[in-house]
Symmetry: D2
Subunit: 346 residues, 4 copies
């Protein structure tokens, strides 16, 4: 059994980690870290865990935890892990970080978009970007995994094959993303109240959202050169789910079949990526509760563009599910262990 510690266990991503790990045959949670609820029963915070989790919440003492755990998941605010990380911790336990601290290789880009100083830049190089379908080889041997953001996972995977194969002009790439409200976190803010979010939709962080440079960096690797793109997130009145609608100009004439083949080349044998049938549009309801990414595309000859679409559950493939997938790779398990989750509908 892999001994698992979670820091930030009472946020939505942390709670999803608990849900997944309680159903994982090879993992055991030994530490429910939550600074806000120290000494409270975990199931008092999340009533779904009543009679399932009996433990109380602990603090966020990483070094101590690293002695008890084989792997630590940090589902924490930006800057926490960079402040807490140390060589000692890394020698004790693997770290899978669900925050952005080690996702971006250029520290100045990180500091500009996040507006905070990076306290541990010396570990940035070592960190592996945990987008499993792309980087699984590097993940296997890592000590520190930077688990990708929710918007990022969906945005990158949806466009990756076409960028990589040079089918689209990456300078024309526009990503219009829509997210459920769990992505906004569990903080007690007026803006996230039921009556403020329900029955409305809005864009936010226009031309300035922090996931932008992360997407640009990773798709830049695929393109073989740096790129900039437009990324606009929207808040949707639903719990879970991210849908991305991506637009790009085609660099050459290409048929539906040819484009489908490119997607199949990259994802045809991927367990968690479902390439939909022609004409089907991804819908977030079909992936809810699961680790799937549903992807499809439509070529528009009128405008010489392709419209790519992708859907994930932001808490699973966009956070906790991918983190567990990374854990499975790190510990040599089958990648889908504990992740055979049938999407729940309705």
């Amino acid at each position: 059994m892999i001994k698992v510690g979670i820091i930030g266990a009472t946020g939505y991503a942390g709670a999803e980690l608990v849900r997944l790990l309680k159903q994982h045959p090879e993992a055991e949670i030994v530490w429910y870290g939550s600074r806000s609820y120290v000494d409270e029963r975990y199931s008092k915070v999340f009533g779904n865990m009543f009679k399932i989790v009996d433990e109380k919440c602990l603090d966020d003492h990483m070094t101590e935890l690293s002695k008890e755990a084989d792997v630590i998941f940090t589902a924490t605010p930006q800057g926490f892990l960079a402040s807490a990380i140390s060589e000692e911790i890394l020698q004790n336990a693997k770290i899978i970080d669900l925050s952005a601290d080690f996702r971006i290789k250029d520290v100045s880009v990180y500091e500009k978009w996040y507006g905070i100083e990076h306290k541990a830049p010396q570990y940035i190089d070592e960190a592996v970007y945990g987008l499993c379908e792309i980087n699984r080889k590097d993940i296997a041997g890592a000590r520190l995994i930077a688990n990708p953001g929710c918007y990022t996972t969906c945005s990158i995977l949806t466009a990756y094959p076409l960028v990589k194969e040079g089918v689209i002009d990456p300078d024309t790439l526009i990503i219009d993303a829509k997210s459920g409200t769990s992505g906004a976190g569990r903080g007690a803010k007026t803006a996230n109240l039921y009556c403020e979010v329900n029955e409305s939709i809005k864009a936010y962080g226009v031309a300035s959202h922090r996931h932008t440079p992360e997407i640009e960096e990773q798709l830049g690797y695929a393109a073989g050169r740096p790129l900039v793109l437009s990324f606009t997130p929207h808040l949707v009145p639903m719990h879970r789910g991210i849908l991305v609608t991506e637009y790009a100009s085609l660099k050459k004439d290409i048929s539906y079949e040819e484009m489908k083949k490119i997607y199949e080349k990259y994802y045809g044998s991927e367990k968690f990526i479902r390439l939909l049938d022609e004409g089907s549009c991804p819908e977030t309801r079909w992936v809810k509760g699961s680790n799937y990414v549903d992807i499809n595309f439509k070529i528009d000859t009128r405008t010489n563009r392709v419209i790519m679409m992708g859907a994930i559950d932001n808490l699973v493939k966009g956070a906790a599910g991918q983190a567990v997938q990374n854990m499975n790779i790190l510990f040599g398990l089958e990648e889908c262990t504990g992740l055979d989750l049938v999407p729940m509908f309705p």
Copy 2:
């Protein structure tokens, strides 16, 4: 492996059966029956099953199915099974019926409340009412299980110990029930459109809902005499979940601790019934996706009443989950096999 056939696989209860059985280690679905979608790929109807279920939908030919299956789940409209059942079918396969056809022992009561003639009254006596926590002994040896209704399961289990022990006056019992919209089915009716259901609540079937006599019959067995009660269902703008709030006058002075002990006597070792801590009210979000029943009560000395509360997921414990629980009992498996479902939140 238990070979399972489903008739009515494209309704919400049928779809939930598929979700649960695909995660069940001892069951295999051999027949996806759906009159409306014969020859269509099942995953075309429910996109969540893409790459999980490859089969096409079949018709509802029960006799043929009974030769291929060990057990048949009928998630069908009232009257279907009574019309289709036969001795041959029952000799070939067990039947777990999610409709009301065999729930009520008095055929005249059935015919009055449902407004249809019962086509196979000869099997009513044999049928076992599949409320597992109460009737598991009888269930084990049955050929035909009448799986309880969703409102019924929650209403009965919440009040059962207090009725059985004579703590409350059953003639004062009032059940105010609230259900998510999946309980209304997947039929294309204007009344169930998003814009008609969302942002509203209403009572319906006041003093006339068909689950009333089923609740009365079962609680009558507990009381040791016939009883009538008030049952009012309400439609709530949410997918899943039933909450019941039940009111009854106390027949004698009783403390919180004494009442708690009564509940523990009946449910203390039940895997799927969670007796909440004092002061906690059941909430449907905490049972979503799981087979749990969350129950609690509050004694009101001002009015000499007890207010009992219970919450279930109507599609799981209120339909498919309980049906699988019945299957587990029928086939000698551990009762919770395939039902270790951690509730999904949010």
Copy 3:
């Protein structure tokens, strides 16, 4: 033009007052009081008011405000008005209080249920309970109106005629109430976040909710003697609306027509009370945005009970609309001035 000041203008009830008063032909808002947003533009807080309200928020200085306004609405937390009220203020301006400070005549009952000391008990006697359909004569001459609570308005009006006429046994009265989430206020609490409220229903304040004694007092006047009753509020995932389902035993045989006549005797000429056709159940969607109360009932001869149902928009008839209705009475306007609001659906 009536000069109106609002204290607590940035809560949901306060915002609804603004919406209604901006459409009122005889009223003009001169003071947008909001301690939390002093000096901020009101339309920065509520974007719907952009280009409609240009004013900035002011503090809650009641004495100063009373010199500028003809009437003051206090949509404030419990205890505020009792601390702030004075003879000088009451001589300057009428007060319509949307809090509970002056609703309950017995100060010890108030202090027990609300858990705070009443700072101005000397004004309790003078205050008139502003349930317009029942008390409009007393309202007309008052200086201080205690605007009824949202649950209370709906609960009382639904049962009032049958209690008053002695048709039901008031000791058997059980009120099961369901409220939209705007009733929980605009405070930044985790419990009111979108992801906590949506897709769930729960009871709360069981046998202890503060609106209970208010309902008991008013229905006690109707019954001609004190009474206790069961009142259980529930939180429903929707913005607006209260639905009450009320149960009581009949004291005598009574036909549908006779009972209907009783309701018509009290409400037949009431503009804002709609007695629905036989068989129709009130639904909150049909009153959304309006000052209507929709009422109906069903006699259940099996149990010798009547089930009464009522629906209102909690922010209109349950708060701001009734407050404006009280203002109209106070200032001798037609009672429905500015309240001819057609319910908005969907």
Copy 4:
């Protein structure tokens, strides 16, 4: 008083016409046309109209209606009006058509995108496209108004000034639109059930939605030449509201202030268009129930693009409200008569 007839009064757009016209001081509805509900009381279909509308539904006999009405609103399926229109009707009454029959000047474009033959092409030239803020002069003298589509209204108005002034390259224009579910109509379709729509988002009609050529035609007039663009609609789990997020490349360097001035040039004195403050993003909740269009933009120097955003209530400015605005212009009333609707929040 203007005598108004409505054909299609029991769809959502028709119902919204009724809501607006019942509050309009100069209009009186004389005909509630609804083929599906002939002879039923209108308030039986829409309970919000109980005690407000007493009339029964009538059929869709246009010629007869034209003798009784000054203006006819047709909120009908595609092709209805083209089949029913005649010179006699047009001489009797003005027509404001909420369907697409007369919106597109090139009949072959209409027939290609809508897949039906146009039965009255002789009236296409005469019809005036009723986008009030752009075409009010032509509207004033028309007999036949083609009321714009909901997506179209929002899409065009948001981009119009920048296209007209040549600030953006129209060939790069991409419109990502999100709509509430009332836009899908009131037909009893499985796809529009609560449990199918709620908690999900999807794109549909990708590169093929029928509003595309309408947007292209109108923005083509602004650009002074034909253009093609990408338009992707999405279905959002909410009742009302359309949000568009539009992307285009800038043709020249331009500052925020300069771009703001352009918007003000076109919309600065428009009653129903609100240009938001810098940094505010339109949200559909702020326009709900009103005729407002909220617009803003963000210049992204990194990508040399502008992101334009617009929000409307699809049933008001996107359908019934704009239709009433057209009626006001046609009959020489102040344009905002009966449309001074304060948005309802929450």
